[in-house]
Symmetry: C2
Subunit: 173 residues, 2 copies
């Protein structure tokens, strides 16, 4: 089992509780990797997920043993897909972050940022495919390729429809 390196060197810290937090962070990491995000992103989200108080970039960097670069980039990804909220704290210069835990927000952000562009791009590419002249190819082959082209178009169409449907499904309880 993977273990996120959160330094256990801070508050009076309950042993049992720390273990559960560890497990939850591991779960977050797992989910994150599952959907194709890098380890550092999963670690960042996991740590914020178990943190009651907002955390700053350098807290994240030091507690997770990540480089500044990885932390900055990881937070950017999380911000882009809407998996974290930025919290402004009075009299503080740093930005503070908290996990967004609403599933439909998480999923719709992920779909919009990571899935939709791909599906749209696919649509463009398919629509620029052009068939060869009717009489320059054997009829059987031409019909076959026409059929394949229709397949591609219908795949794209169905997938494009599925994305908002999925989003909706997860929004309605």
């Amino acid at each position: 089992m993977q273990t996120v390196a959160k330094d256990i060197t801070e508050p009076p810290a309950n042993q049992e509780l720390a273990a559960i937090e560890q497990d939850m962070m591991d779960l977050c990491l797992r989910i994150s990797k599952f959907i194709g995000l890098p380890k550092s992103v999963g670690e960042l989200y996991g740590f914020l997920f178990v943190s009651q108080e907002p955390k700053s970039m350098d807290e994240l960097t030091s507690q997770l043993n990540l480089s500044k670069g990885a932390t900055s980039q990881g937070l950017k990804v999380l911000r882009t897909i809407g998996a974290i909220k930025t919290v402004y704290i009075a009299g503080e210069r740093k930005d503070y972050f908290q996990a967004e835990t609403n599933l439909s927000k998480l999923v719709s952000g992920f779909l919009k940022d990571r899935i939709e562009p791909g599906v749209t791009d696919l649509g463009h590419r398919i629509s620029t495919l052009s068939l060869p002249d009717e009489d320059s190819v054997s009829n059987s082959k031409l019909e076959f390729i026409k059929g394949r082209m229709q397949k591609l178009a219908s795949w794209q169409q169905k997938t494009a429809d599925a994305v908002p449907a999925l989003s909706k499904f997860l929004t309605g309880s």
Copy 2:
């Protein structure tokens, strides 16, 4: 733009048609990478997608310049998710393969093989999380962690429900 190396050194071959096949193979490759499959798998599927006749392993190997190993493993993946059918040809020792192009079959195979196990595993892991004793932790922190645990459980539940729903959505035209 990526280009799959299908040797253009065979039949009398119509120029225009070959270009379209190339484009279609590229689209297949793109889709395959998009869902996290390796390049070789996308190439194999793409080539079968544009092939009217079933192809044998060595035809795939030589036409796509893949190693025997990659071809064997790639076909295994495609077989497992149900993206190809094996065709037996009378008097032939080799196995021959054709692309499955029915979207709902493709998607349900993919979901069953690649998504469901992950979601199920997540369910198991979540159900083994246990809370610390009521009185060994500050109440606020305990409530917070309880809330997170419920979040995780509800995510898992909703996701598990979404998988068959998605499958169904794509089956019904």
